[in-house]
Symmetry: C2
Subunit: 223 residues, 2 copies
């Protein structure tokens, strides 16, 4: 192990650093009432997404796409599509997370960037591009969907946490009409909306919830 | 807005606190070589899961189950099932994340705990239990699977980050034979293995990777 590695681990392990992390994680709650006059700039939304998209994904395919709704009229239009939940109109930005079922079609960009960064040769990249395209395009549709849906879960969690670290709150919503969202924004069947995520400044705190006991959900060395 | 809420937001917004969070997030990389002599105690694994399971989920159904493999012989047996990737034998603990396709059958425990905590009356809880059981058990199988797979993505991200905050590394693996895992541990079709996640002390740092430009994946107010 090089000294660089030891240093970086020690840095993370310091109490202050982890305390900051745990504070962000523990302070995240689903918030349903927002200060509707608060604007989050496009720049700040991009900052949040830039950080959150450091999430890992299957073969680094990054199947997540983000449709961000900040226009007040469009937010109003979304509300009936989201079973009239008011946070959709009142939060500053609604991030609709989409899973790209043809994410492998961007593999040339993904591995091209790695070549540019000096992380791999063009030859290695070409192999990765050919192999990942062949593998993912050849998967049964249901299996491919599982992979991209799971990966949008990873990035969605990082969006919620990053927003919290920047003083915002959010509420993950699965309850909305996905077909109507696709229709409203002319989204093709290539993309599957997974999460609708309002982000903004809390007007009323989220309420606490409970969790199952670990004994109900963890199994050591046998199931 | 009450003063309590303002206080809690200000705490999170302080630079030190967010710096700790961002440091954890940015220092997480997929690590494939581990110090094979390092033991993570069952207690510490439970601590990590206790924190990570603060993740949100659809109707708070918490469809995640964790099979944790720490037994050296079992880890050896897992390696061929995971296409011989050595991290499966060398990391301290392998967390196999399972999605419970009948997660609603635990709704009495979930809402029962909320009653006990004083968050809702028994009457409200009974309604939630009846409604969530009816809704989720009535969903088409494919839709239900999307929901539970997505939710295991949320918790998996928090496991990776929490492990990092505690000085460990991990590597999310989708490439393994799920049927063989189910067979090895006698796991019924009620459970769908999503992620295999080795956790341990890095012996060699993870290599840096690139991400798509935000311009390729973000869409503001139109798609």
């Amino acid at each position: 192990m090089s000294s660089t590695q030891i240093d970086s681990q020690v840095t993370v392990q310091t109490t202050e650093q982890s305390a900051g992390f745990f504070n962000v994680l523990n302070s995240r709650r689903s918030v349903r009432k927002y200060e509707s006059n608060v604007v989050i700039s496009e720049e700040e939304i991009r900052e949040i997404l830039e950080i959150a998209t450091k999430a890992p994904s299957s073969s680094n395919m990054q199947p997540w796409r983000f449709l961000i709704v900040t226009d007040p009229e469009l937010k109003q239009k979304l509300q009936p599509i989201a079973f009239n939940q008011q946070q959709v109109a009142e939060a500053s930005a609604i991030v609709i997370v989409l899973a790209d079922l043809e994410m492998y079609s961007l593999s040339d960009k993904i591995y091209g960037a790695s070549v540019e960064a000096g992380y791999m040769t063009q030859e290695v990249a070409d192999n990765f591009i050919a192999n990942s395209t062949k593998m993912y395009s050849g998967l049964p549709a249901e299996r491919l969907k599982e992979i991209v849906v799971f990966d949008t879960g990873l990035v969605a969690m990082q969006i919620m946490l990053t927003a919290r670290a920047k003083g915002y709150d959010s509420v993950p919503m699965g309850g909305y009409n996905r077909d109507q969202v696709k229709e409203m924004f002319n989204i093709s069947d290539r993309y599957l909306p997974t999460l609708m995520l309002p982000i903004g400044k809390a007007a009323v705190e989220g309420h606490p919830t409970t969790r199952l006991s670990l004994d109900d959900i963890t199994f050591f060395n046998k199931f």
